[in-house]
Symmetry: C2
Subunit: 151 residues, 2 copies
DNA sequence: GTTTTATAGTTGTATATACAAATGTATACG
DNA sequence: CGTATACATTTGTATATACAACTATAAAAC
């Protein structure tokens, strides 16, 4: 579906408007697909991202600011995301003894297990979108997006 | 900023992961910029979209399903968006006399005024992203995104 | 004409986003 | 040492997203 069909537009659209809608809509499609994948596991996309960041710490605890700065949506509320993960026992959370302002968040074995379970499905998801693009086109798409952002 | 810098990634990333993060992040940048633009007007992005759809009706009322199907995020809750616009007197809302299941939503003059005020700013916003892209690149980016989605 | 089914919209609950204000702790300054 | 400032996180409030259950009305089936 092209973007005119998506929003049932009949009048011709300015190219700058079109490209923006195309990016927004493509993100929507990505998110919908990913949510579908996560649904059986009862974690949200953002919760999943936090778990992945924590796994990337390789045993070292992460505090709230570290998690925050590695997330895409910089204004997400890390406290509440970690709260939810704590309830599901996917992470632990303790006050840092050296600096009691900081919080040490660690992924649990249970958290690692669900990530491991998800890994192959996530890879399949990611690669499914590349089917119609050759290597050149992939590189180009990445470059164009970076150029676009860099207004 | 490229995507590795954004999420402070040190290890090399798979190209399929990279392209997805690039799209998600580009959408974030777009939304942040647009929210900034709308902030002085006290309407959210989704409320703005509803207003634009209503203006596009050129005087004809739109019911909830029409609004819904023209929005990008198909699962947005139109009822509540219209509620908010009603409070601000940007729209009116009446039961359709021919079919009492339907609701007729119309944009008010006040709504049209704020859109008119926003129009030039929105155009500036849209075009600001095209600065570094030539016509060919814009066409290509649109094509690549559609190809990408079409998994 | 009453029951069934489909359509249009609303409401409820949980999660996430956005942003500002508040809390608690550490560090710096006089 | 005590106060001011900076840092790390939490809490509050409003909006939006996601999805399911519910209500009301219209049309179809019998």
């Amino acid at each position: 579906m092209n973007i005119d069909e998506v929003i049932k537009s009949t009048i011709p659209m300015d190219i700058s408007k079109k490209i923006i809608l195309n990016i927004l809509y493509t993100q929507n499609v990505l998110s919908d697909n990913f949510n579908e994948l996560l649904k059986p596991y009862d974690v949200s996309t953002e919760q999943y991202n936090v778990l992945r960041i924590l796994r990337g710490q390789k045993g070292n605890p992460a505090n709230m600011s570290i998690i925050q700065e590695r997330m895409l949506a910089k204004t997400s509320n890390t406290t509440r995301l970690v709260d939810k993960l704590l309830l599901k026992k996917y992470v632990t959370r303790e006050v840092c003894p050296e600096n009691r302002r900081k919080i040490e968040v660690l992924i649990t074995q249970r958290g690692l297990d669900i990530l491991k379970d998800l890994d192959p499905k996530v890879i399949t998801y990611e690669q499914s979108f590349l089917q119609n693009l050759n290597t050149n086109e992939i590189i180009q798409l990445n470059q164009l997006l970076e150029k676009f952002r860099n207004k």
